[in-house]
């Protein structure tokens, strides 16, 4: 039985309505947790004044430098029980699958050592155990750790990764996303747990171009599934689809939507695809999921440099590796190696608080490619330069490099 609740007329207005209410949840916790009573008090204050009252600080666990987001109240004098309200970030299994036993243990631990408030999940993919005193951080973490869970990333470090449901439940999956996610992240645990990079670095894994993980914009290194051979077409299913929807519908919703006009509906209602022009956008496969599917020679495209706004404006990742296989342990190690080279070069050359994409923007893609020894490829660009503003007196040597590569 906790102390009496503060009046929260503003927050109370967030209890009505059909959507589940976080306020109601917090109130439930406040029944027996003073911390949540005062948390509600401070939050109500923020709603009144439209100001935040948390400040940062330091808090962590033995052996790690990051993973805990420390929060100290600026108005602890009024709300002492929530003076400390830290968040512990824990990495979930790839794809965020759980058995209920695990979730129940989380609840028990957090009821004992924390506020009882858990966010599933943070935007970077962590389980966020929110609301913990400094003293409780270590014991809480030790118990999560004992369950086989580890700390997530924070600060200038490799961050927790995310991968789509993919192979586990999606017919579009072009590689083993959960496994790639696990192997890659577990190869960078030192950089993840001990922040020492210029800035944050995020990996995200999507099984196909639909990019259900927003990898292209929300990660520094995006691994997106694709295929090299032809789209698999089941013409009977195509005809069935055309029969059920009508030609006009198919033309207006599939044929004309292909970004490269790679499809043509034959007069016999079969579909012909120019696979050389197809850019693997997924649209036709999405629409005719029974009739079409990605080819058999599957792998991934790797993009780098995605991030949000500060300080030069939002950046979408851009193509670094047009295609690589990702079937075997060996393939995955190649991916790790690539990530390592990128992070090493960036750690060397990135300015403080400069994300990978910003560094590439500053030094230029060609220079970056040379730095990490990745060969240039036309797939990296929308089109070659439209201006002559460059000195190229060693054109012939550069051209020879290409010819030699083409030769092998």
């Amino acid at each position: 039985m906790a102390k009496n609740r503060h009046d929260t007329p503003l927050l109370d207005q967030l209890e009505g309505g059909p959507w589940p209410s976080f306020v109601t949840g917090i109130k439930r916790l406040a029944k027996d947790k003073d911390m949540m009573v005062d948390l509600l008090g401070q939050l109500e204050r923020s709603y009144e004044t439209r100001k935040g009252y948390w400040k940062g600080g330091t808090a962590s666990v033995i052996g790690y430098g990051g993973g805990v987001i420390p929060r100290f109240s600026e108005i602890a004098d009024e709300f002492p029980a929530s003076a400390e309200f830290h968040t512990i970030r824990i990495m979930p299994p790839a794809g965020m699958h759980y058995d209920t036993a695990t979730l129940r243990s989380f609840c028990d631990i957090w009821e004992q050592h924390g506020s009882g408030l858990i966010a599933l999940h943070g935007q970077t993919g962590d389980i966020m155990f929110q609301g913990c005193t400094t003293d409780d951080i270590q014991p809480a973490f030790d118990k999560f750790n004992a369950m086989g869970f580890d700390m997530g990333g924070a600060g200038p470090a490799v961050r927790t990764g995310m991968s789509c449901v993919g192979s586990a439940r999606c017919e579009h999956s072009c590689y083993d996303e959960p496994e790639a996610h696990r192997v890659v992240l577990n190869s960078f645990l030192d950089d993840l747990h001990r922040p020492a990079l210029p800035y944050k670095f995020k990996f995200k894994f999507s099984g196909c171009g639909n990019d259900c993980m927003n990898a292209i914009q929300r990660s520094d290194m995006a691994v997106i599934g694709t295929w090299r051979d032809d789209i698999q077409v089941n013409q009977d299913e195509v005809r069935r689809f055309v029969a059920s929807k009508g030609r006009k519908y198919v033309i207006d919703n599939v044929i004309t939507r292909c970004p490269t006009r790679s499809m043509s509906l034959e007069d016999d209602d079969s579909l012909s695809i120019d696979n050389k022009s197809c850019v693997r956008c997924m649209h036709c496969i999405n629409v005719m999921t029974k009739a079409l599917s990605p080819g058999n020679d599957r792998g991934v495209t790797i993009l780098v440099g995605g991030k949000r706004t500060l300080k030069i404006g939002d950046l979408l990742g851009s193509v670094l590796i047009p295609f690589m296989k990702l079937d075997t342990e060996e393939d995955r190690n190649k991916l790790v190696e690539l990530g390592q080279n990128i992070i090493d070069f960036w750690a060397e050359n990135g300015l403080e608080h400069e994300r990978l994409g910003e560094m590439i923007e500053r030094i230029g893609l060609s220079v970056f490619l040379e730095g990490i020894e990745v060969p240039i490829d036309p797939a990296m660009i929308n089109h070659p330069r439209t201006n002559p503003m460059i000195r190229m007196d060693d054109w012939d040597e550069e051209a020879t490099k290409w010819k030699e590569r083409a030769a092998v």
Binding site: L10, E179, H181
Partner: protein
């Protein structure tokens, strides 16, 4: 402080997946053939061997109390063989191996107040951030904004009547932890930071603060005898980048930190290439606890999209087709000088063609 006695962590990293995976998913791992959606909120995936699994998706408040989570676990144990997963949008998914269990599961979820939907061409849960609840630099709340909006958009969550999926995000400061989205609701500061000169010297590493400013508007200065920082208010674009490294440069303002609405962000590669979202409305008041002005604009935009867009057109693709003039007409929003970009790649956003709609 953590006990020095405490043992070193077991640096185990991301746990292996197996023990967390629903049996049908494990059995057919990597062998799915196709899927359909029997009804909003329900996916049916069929494996190459014919196995089927039904997924029921329900909305949550993301920031959940343990009681809520336990309730969800009870439901999972009763109908979903004790397994669940969460989506990138904090929706919970129950995998069910027998069709017969789908309906009762749904009833149970509704009974406990969890909306079932978010699939296909619906408005899914808004991906949100921390805000006043936990962040140290928020201009507004996140959970509250999302709760208020999802209350308003509930009908669109439980139905699939949009031209394509609608994915929204919110960000409680201009750092924008929320992602690119069909509709994004972000804080937009409109005044330069107010500097508490007494604190700067102690709290801020001045050179690195100066370095953070995208327009070089900050310069070191002595203010009443103490080393501080000065902002050239004519240069300042009110981005807030200086605030995290230097809290005395207070950028948040109850009055002047407004909300802006952005549309047409797209991460998927389906049809068109991914695109960044674009500014459409700004200057909306940070009106807690329910932000009605924001909801009003969002609903206007959704309504126009719903009525006018073609199947499969995402928000941005729809506007690409009908043109921005028509977008502002249909949504009855104002077009201002601020919509015309003047940042580093502005040129590329000019219409360098005679392609015009009338």
């Amino acid at each position: 402080m953590a006990q020095p006695a405490a043992k070193m962590p077991d640096e185990c990293g991301v746990p292996p997946l197996d023990r967390f995976l629903h049996p049908v998913l494990k059995k057919n791992y990597g062998n799915w053939a196709w899927h359909d959606r029997p009804r909003p909120g329900v996916l049916r995936h069929v494996a190459k061997n014919g196995d089927q699994v039904w997924t029921v998706r329900a909305g949550t408040q993301r920031q959940m109390d343990v009681h809520t989570i336990r309730t969800l676990c009870d439901i999972a144990d009763q109908y979903a063989e004790g397994y669940v997963r969460f989506t990138i949008r904090s929706n919970i998914e129950f995998m069910v191996s027998e069709e017969s269990k789908v309906a009762p599961l749904i009833d149970k979820l509704l009974e406990h107040g969890f909306p079932v939907g978010g699939t296909g061409n619906s408005v899914s849960m808004i991906s949100h951030t921390q805000g006043w609840l936990h962040c140290d630099i928020p201009g507004t709340d996140a959970s509250g904004v999302v709760k208020s909006l999802m209350d308003e958009l509930h009908e669109e969550f439980i139905n699939e009547r949009m031209p394509n999926r609608v994915r929204m995000s919110t960000s409680c400061c201009q750092i924008n932890c929320g992602g690119q989205a069909d509709i994004a609701i972000n804080i937009q500061h409109t005044k330069p930071p107010k500097i508490n000169h007494d604190l700067v010297a102690n709290v801020c590493e001045r050179p690195s603060v100066v370095a953070r400013c995208p327009v070089a508007a900050i310069r070191p200065a002595m203010v009443n005898g103490r080393p501080s920082l000065e902002v050239d208010e004519k240069k300042c674009i009110c981005c807030g980048a200086c605030y995290p490294p230097c809290p005395p440069m207070q950028i948040n303002d109850p009055e002047h930190s407004k909300l802006a609405i952005w549309v047409g962000g797209k991460n998927s590669n389906a049809r068109s290439k991914p695109t960044l979202h674009k500014l459409v409305a700004a200057g909306l008041p940070n009106n807690a606890p329910r932000w009605p002005e924001v909801a009003a604009v969002v609903k206007k935009i959704l309504l126009a999209y719903k009525n006018d867009a073609r199947d499969y057109e995402r928000m941005g693709e729809w506007i690409e087709r009908i043109g921005w003039s028509r977008f502002f007409e249909l949504t009855d929003l104002a077009f201002t000088r601020y919509h015309i970009d003047n940042w580093r790649w502005a040129r590329q956003s000019l219409n360098s063609s005679a392609h015009i709609r009338f």
